[in-house]
């Protein structure tokens, strides 16, 4: 049991680390698309690690099944939601940082003329 506890702790701590880094990325990254990237990728890895860590704590009963269900549910829905959101932002006309720079430049040039 002792070995399982150690593995589980390592997984949990690693998961939390990725979760925190994702949350910081949500603030630090320059434009929306990079922020989506930070949030969604770390969301997935944090969910994988934390739920795996908790799985080792169960005694293989109904709770294990529920955790596995949550695991697959998050694995499917979380990336889908991020993808759909990014796609919707793209269609809504949100520009990435590089594009905004070029369009700003062209705008200022037009103003000067």
């Amino acid at each position: 049991m002792f070995v399982l506890d150690i593995i589980s702790s390592v997984l949990l701590v690693a998961g939390v680390f990725f979760g925190l880094s994702g949350a910081i990325g949500l603030f630090k990254f320059p434009d929306f698309f990079t922020r989506v990237h930070a949030a969604s990728v770390t969301d997935s890895i944090a969910a994988i690690l934390i739920i795996s860590g908790l799985l080792l704590q169960t005694s293989f009963d109904l709770n294990t099944a529920k955790l596995i269900f949550i695991f697959f549910f998050l694995m499917i829905t979380s990336p889908t939601a991020s993808h759909a959101l990014a796609k919707s932002a793209r269609h809504g006309g949100l520009l990435s940082m590089a594009e905004r720079k070029t369009s700003d430049n062209s705008n200022t040039q037009e103003n000067q003329h």
């Binding site: 549910f73 499917i76 829905t77 889908t80 993808h83 759909a84």
Partner: protein, 326 residues
């Protein structure tokens, strides 16, 4: 540890509520309200009210948010600048709040086992209900058996709300010549994933419905989750397709059916010689009778809540689609 979690979550809740005041973008208000519901459900978990948390997460965060978004699609997104002075409301609120805070000082301290609430009725439920009703989940025992009549009333209220919404908005079925609305056509990934998920959601709803006697769950929650599955379908594939799966006419039959199923259990127990909703008479063994009664009335509640929530959603969504066409 439990105290710390409680402190942090309540502080986050207060911040969210405070932020709502100053936002002018109503879409952001609704988003924050979704977070607010999620947070309050978390607090219910940390205060041991798992059944309540279950209900708040599915009903408060899910259905309310979807309905509010539907309303915003019809009424516009931004709040106009308020020209009234906000000083008088602020003063009223501060005075009332100060009076209430003064009042709380006479409340019994939080979490003390000798508080007056725990002296009366509750000990009986906690000690006797596992023997009398035979269910591990005391909330279900009290909800469906001891306070069964009250729950019947609540179910009727939910049904009445559906009648209210129907008479105010109505469900508009589009005529044949118009091209059918196709939902989120652009999002191919979403369409595939939704198709994959919906069977599992319905399965989970059935699990919640029939496992409610032993863990958190029951008719109210199961009805909402089942409705959420069909709401997901309608959101992704469009309303006309959802109408083909489960039509509004059918829902209008389903909603009263649940209430009548509930009430008929009561009448049947009277017929068997007991009082109204006295499940002990339903079978030769009183505890088995309680089991039968609770399973049937929870099913009635589940059916009514499912039909009501889905038809309310249909009413809002059909209004939104109509305004979109115009």
């Amino acid at each position: 540890m439990a105290v710390l979690i409680d402190l942090v979550l309540l502080a986050m809740l207060a911040i969210t509520a405070l932020r709502v005041i100053f936002l002018k973008d109503l879409f952001a208000v609704v988003m924050l309200f979704g977070i607010y519901s999620f947070l309050s459900a978390l607090i219910f978990v940390s205060l041991d009210a798992v059944d309540v948390a279950f209900t708040e997460a599915s009903v408060g965060a899910g259905i309310s948010t979807v309905l509010m978004l539907g309303t915003l699609a019809l009424t516009g997104r931004t709040e106009k600048e308020n020209k009234h002075s906000s000083l008088l409301p602020f003063l009223v609120v501060v005075v009332t709040g100060a009076a209430l805070v003064y009042g709380t000082l006479d409340m019994p301290p939080f979490g003390h086992p000798d508080n007056p609430v725990h002296e009366h009725v509750a000990p009986r439920y906690i000690e006797q209900s596992p023997k009398e009703v035979g269910l591990p989940n005391m909330v279900t025992s009290v909800l469906a058996s001891y306070r069964g009549f009250d729950t019947l009333g609540e179910t009727v209220v939910v049904f009445a709300a559906a009648i209210g919404v129907m008479s105010l908005l109505g469900i508009r079925r589009r005529s044949e010549d118009e091209t059918p609305e196709s939902g989120l056509k652009e999002h191919q990934v979403l369409r595939v994933v939704a198709k994959l998920l919906i069977p599992f959601v319905v399965l989970f709803a059935l699990y919640v419905q029939f496992h409610g006697d032993f863990g958190p769950g029951g008719g109210f929650q199961a009805g909402v989750i089942a409705a959420a599955a069909f709401i997901l379908y309608a959101l992704v594939y469009g309303l006309p397709l959802a109408f083909q799966v489960i039509g509004p006419k059918f829902l209008q039959l389903l909603a009263p059916f649940g209430v009548l199923l509930y009430a008929s259990v009561g009448l049947y127990s009277m017929f068997k010689g007991g009082l109204f909703l006295d499940y002990n008479t339903l079978a030769s063994d009183p505890v088995a009778g309680q089991h039968y009664g609770i399973i049937i009335i929870e099913l009635g509640v589940g059916i009514t809540v499912f039909a009501v929530m889905l038809s309310i959603f249909y009413a809002f969504a059909s209004q939104a689609e109509r305004s979109n066409v115009q």
